[in-house]
C-alpha cells in the first residue's frame, strides 16, 4: 500500500508538472496581452500600418486632396459669390484637415499616402453600401483607375476646368456633392472604429460639416434647376 502510494505520488507530480507548464504558457500569454492593453486603450503607441487610424488618414488625405483641387478651380472660375464662398470654405477646411492627418501620420512614423489599394482598412462590416463598389473598383483597376467612391475622374476634372458660367457652377456642385456623399461611409467608419480619440473626433466633425454642406449644395443645385449625379 505504501509502495503504491509512493508510485502514485510520483505520477501525480508528473501530471502536476505538465499542468504547471501549460499554466505557465497560458499565464505568459495572458500577461503579454494584459501588458499591451494600457497602450492600446489610451493609444499613445503607434497604430499599425493596416489599422483603421492609419488607413483612414491616408485615404482621406487622397480624398480631401481632390476636393481642394476642385475648390481651387471654383474660386478662380466661378462668377457666383455663393459658389466661391462654399469653395473657399471647403478648400481651407479640408486643407487644414489634410495637415492634421499628415501630422498624425508623422507622429506615428507612417507614410503620408497609401501604398496599396484604397479602403482595405474598412474590414469590420459589409453594410456600408460600398460592397458593390469593391467589384467596380477592381474592374476599373484593370483599366487604370483607382478611384474611391465620389472621386472625380481625370475627364471630370478636365470638364470642370473647361466649364464657365452657369455650366461651371452646376458641374462644380454636382462633382463636389458626389464627392462628399462618396466620402461619407469612410468618415462614418473612421468615427466608429478608429482607436485614437483625435481620429474619431475629426472623422465625426467631417461627417457633421460635410452633411450640412451636402444640404447646402443640394439646395444650390435645385435653385439652378439641376439634378445631383448618381454615385460612381
Amino acid at each position: 500500500m505504501s509502495e503504491n502510494s509512493g508510485e502514485n505520488s510520483s505520477d501525480r507530480s508528473r501530471s502536476l508538472l505538465v499542468l504547471l507548464a501549460v499554466a505557465a504558457v497560458a499565464v505568459g500569454f495572458l500577461a503579454g496581452f494584459v501588458a499591451r492593453l494600457p497602450f492600446e486603450d489610451s493609444a499613445p503607441s503607434t497604430p499599425a500600418p493596416d489599422s483603421v487610424d492609419v488607413g483612414f488618414a491616408q485615404d482621406m488625405i487622397v480624398h480631401h486632396d481632390q476636393a481642394v483641387e476642385m475648390a481651387t478651380i471654383a474660386i478662380t472660375n466661378s462668377d457666383d459669390d455663393r459658389i466661391r464662398n462654399i469653395a473657399y470654405d471647403i478648400l481651407t477646411t479640408q486643407q487644414n484637415q489634410i495637415g492634421q492627418m499628415q501630422g498624425w501620420l508623422s507622429l506615428w512614423d507612417r507614410a503620408l499616402l497609401p501604398t496599396g489599394e484604397h479602403m482595405v482598412w474598412m474590414t469590420e462590416s459589409e453594410d456600408h453600401g460600398h460592397g458593390g463598389h469593391d467589384a467596380t473598383m477592381e474592374a476599373e483597376g484593370a483599366s487604370g483607375s483607382h478611384l474611391m467612391p465620389g472621386m472625380a475622374s481625370a475627364e471630370d476634372m478636365a470638364d470642370l476646368r473647361a466649364a464657365r458660367g452657369h455650366e461651371f457652377d452646376v458641374l462644380f456642385l454636382q462633382l463636389m456633392l458626389r464627392h462628399h456623399q462618396g466620402g461619407l461611409p469612410m468618415m462614418e467608419y473612421g468615427q466608429q472604429y478608429a482607436s485614437t480619440t483625435a481620429v474619431r473626433d475629426l472623422a465625426g466633425t467631417m461627417v457633421a460639416t460635410q452633411q450640412s454642406e451636402t444640404e447646402l449644395m443640394t439646395g444650390l443645385l435645385a435653385e439652378r434647376g439641376a439634378e445631383p449625379l448618381p454615385m460612381n
Partner: protein, 273 residues
C-alpha cells in the same frame, strides 16, 4: 507574479496523502512510472526556471509578432524615422543634393545638369501633379517645381515605350495624387522616374522598382523641400489640358545656370540679358 504561482504549488512532501481518488485514477493511467523511485525529489527550481523562460518568450512573442506582420510588400519601402530614404536600397537610384527654392522668370530656361532633371532652378509655377497623365511633353521648368512639392514624375521616351507600357505606367499615376507622367522626347532610357534629388532609369514598365521608387519617395517628408505644398494649380497660372510646351532644343547662353542660388539673383538675370 508568474514565479509566485510556481512556488505556490510546492507542497511536495505532503502531496502523497491527499486524495486517494486521484491516486487511484493516476495509477490506472500510469504505465512507465513504475520504475521511478518513490522518494524522488521534484526539481521545483528547474521547473520554476523553465516556466519563467516560457513566460518571457510568450511576452516577447506577443509584442513582436504583430510588428513582424506589419512588414508587407510595398509597406517595407515607405519612409520612417529610422529609414528616411528607403530608395537607397533600390538598385540604380541616382541621388544628388540640390538647393531648393530657386525660381526663374516666366519664359526663361534652365541649363539643367541631368536629363530629365530632378532638381535645380525652376519656374515659379508648378505643373499640376494630382495624379496627372500628360499626353504631350510638358515644359521641364514647370515639372521640376512639382518635384519640389513632393511629387514623383514618370517620364518615358515615346519612341521606346509601346502603348501597353504607357497604359501600365498611367495606371500607376491616374487618380494617385502627387504623381505625374509625361512623354520626354530624346530620353536616353525607355522610362525615367524623378523625385526631388532622386532618379531611377528602367527599361520596362513592369520593373518592380517603379512601385518601390514611388512608395519610397512620393511625399516623403524627409526628401522633398516644400513640405505641405499642393499639387493643385490655379486656373490661369497652369492648365493641365494645355500645359506650356516642352522645348527639345539646347538651352541657349542666356539660360539660368544650375549654380544659381537665390530668387533675387534670378530676377536680375533677365534684365541683364
Amino acid at each position: 507574479m508568474p514565479s509566485g504561482s510556481v512556488s505556490g504549488g510546492s507542497g511536495n512532501s505532503k502531496s502523497g496523502a491527499k486524495s486517494s481518488k486521484a491516486i487511484q485514477a493516476a495509477k490506472k493511467k500510469s504505465g512507465g512510472a513504475r520504475g521511478v523511485p518513490p522518494q524522488r525529489q521534484i526539481p521545483w527550481l528547474t521547473i520554476g526556471g523553465v516556466a519563467v523562460v516560457v513566460i518571457l518568450v510568450a511576452v516577447i512573442a506577443v509584442s513582436i509578432i504583430p510588428k513582424a506582420q506589419d512588414k508587407q510588400a510595398l509597406e517595407a519601402w515607405t519612409p520612417s524615422e529610422s529609414n528616411q530614404d528607403p530608395s537607397g536600397e533600390i538598385e540604380g537610384v541616382l541621388k544628388i543634393d540640390y538647393p531648393a527654392g530657386v525660381h526663374i522668370a516666366p519664359g526663361q530656361r534652365v541649363a539643367y545638369d541631368q536629363s530629365p532633371p530632378f532638381g535645380g532652378p525652376h519656374d515659379s509655377v508648378w505643373a499640376t501633379c494630382t495624379g496627372t497623365v500628360y499626353a504631350q511633353p510638358v515644359r521641364t521648368e514647370n515639372m521640376v517645381h512639382s518635384l519640389e512639392h513632393g511629387a514623383v514624375w514618370i517620364a518615358y521616351n515615346p519612341d521606346l515605350v509601346d502603348d501597353a507600357g504607357v497604359d501600365t505606367l498611367a495606371a500607376k499615376v491616374d487618380g494617385r495624387t502627387y504623381t505625374m507622367m509625361s512623354p520626354y522626347p530624346g530620353l536616353d532610357a525607355p522610362i525615367s522616374l524623378q523625385s526631388w534629388g532622386h532618379q531611377l532609369k528602367v527599361d520596362s514598365a513592369d520593373d518592380e522598382r517603379i512601385d518601390q521608387f514611388i512608395a519610397a519617395l512620393r511625399l516623403n517628408r524627409y526628401t522633398y523641400p516644400e513640405v505641405g505644398a499642393s499639387c493643385s494649380t490655379i486656373p490661369g497660372s497652369f492648365d493641365p489640358a494645355n500645359p506650356p510646351a516642352f522645348d527639345a532644343s539646347e538651352p541657349g547662353p542666356d539660360a539660368v545656370p544650375m549654380e544659381a542660388e537665390s530668387v533675387g539673383e534670378m530676377q536680375q538675370a533677365p534684365a541683364g540679358s
